[in-house]
């Protein structure tokens, strides 16, 4: 039987809005798929694009970034700075060949538990349809020590 592909999603969420929103989804007992791994950061302004690259390096098939709505930032302007950075970074990744089906952005406030669930499910579906991120995984393989699984010993 062919195994169903389950994507790994890394979600960078801001402490003040989306993390609390996701918490609300949990306490409200809303059902959501379990593919997203949440990483809590103080603010979306804290997310350096190198985090996103690192997530892909470590085997993520998709990345979701979520924070407070514009104007709601706990630090007043963190998400405005972040938004400007994302516009550039998104265009760069698009030009390099990592399109928007792997990189998602959203605003989810602390009261939007339902929106969070919908977005996570939607992201997981999109990435699942896109399939595993083979190209990046291939790059990872190169630096792993080659191990012959059958023999259980190093091939070299």
């Amino acid at each position: 039987m062919e195994e169903k592909f389950e994507p790994k999603i890394v979600a960078f969420v801001c402490n003040w809005c989306t993390y609390t929103g996701a918490d609300l989804a949990g306490t409200s007992r809303l059902k959501q798929e379990a593919n997203a791994r949440l990483i809590r950061v103080p603010c979306t302004g804290r997310i350096d694009p190198v985090f996103i690259i690192k997530a892909f390096e470590n085997g993520a098939d998709g990345v979701l970034i979520s924070g407070c709505h514009p104007g709601d930032c706990h630090y007043n302007a963190g998400n405005f700075h972040a938004r400007r950075r994302w516009i550039l970074f998104k265009n760069l990744l698009d030009f390099i060949g990592i399109d928007s089906s792997r990189l998602h952005f959203s605003w989810v406030s602390a009261s939007e538990g339902k929106k969070w669930v919908d977005i996570v499910d939607d992201v997981i579906d999109t990435v699942r349809a896109k399939g595993p991120f083979k190209q990046y995984k291939k790059m990872n393989k190169e630096i792993e020590i080659p191990v012959d699984v059958e023999e259980g010993v190093s091939a070299k």
């Binding site: 060949g97 399109d99 630096i143």
Partner: protein
Amino acid sequence: MNELKQICKEALTEKKARFIIAYREDKNKKTKPFIARTPEDAEQIIFNHQAVNNLAVYFPRFKNSGEGKIGIVVKSCDLKAVTALIQENQIKRDDLFIIGVNCSGVVRDTTMEFSNDNTQIKCKYCQAKTPPYYDELAEESKEFEMPDDDQAELMARIEKMSSDERLEFWSAEFEKCIKCYACRQVCPMCYCEKCIVEKSEPQWIDTSSTARGNFSWNIIRAFHMAGRCIGCHECERACPMDIPLTLLTRKMGMVASSEFGYRHGMSLTEPALIGTYSTSDKEDFIK
């Protein structure tokens, strides 16, 4: 030619500048960057089609190095780097003695004579043959034939590709990278005292020249240049593996221009793109 030497000599004699970053011909008859400290040194200063280097790259090493102005010989493309560094508070206009030169194009391959085929693409898009501002101006401006923009063709080709094809194209290009960091060293806008690739706690980017490390390094380098690149094309000239690096920075410049109407290094007073924000930035991609 004598005019430039004369200006430099005067500047050094009258202490208008404590030294001048310029070009000279070395013993192999190559035009190379040179720092003239005395009026006698100024005798060696030249400027020609082979003067490709962007001299603004030398500023960071003279940060807090003493009293007095730093003199620099700049083409109009290099002046954008100077402007950008002033915009980013790396250097003050008052600390500079700018000797502008009218440029008539520079070569792409320094081993060959200047010709239509051997002209840098940036010359085609250079907006001013005469630097927009300066303290002294030298050299005569000569008309020259514009080169073909083969980069624009490549850009159009990539834009037509699907995302998987693009990834394949860039993976193949980045695979060539040997992580010599020449692109970083030669870039006037790469002035961080500690580069992200040298930060090891945690190690953000693999330093060894593996496919993964190369890929991450080149993406991050391009991102750090996004909306900051002034288009001197020095990275691509310095790259020993001929990776089309300026394609990335040029694309990001186009994005900065279309999304924000911003061009770096064009105004001394405008805040840098990434250092500020607008509440009306586009957000149609955010759910």
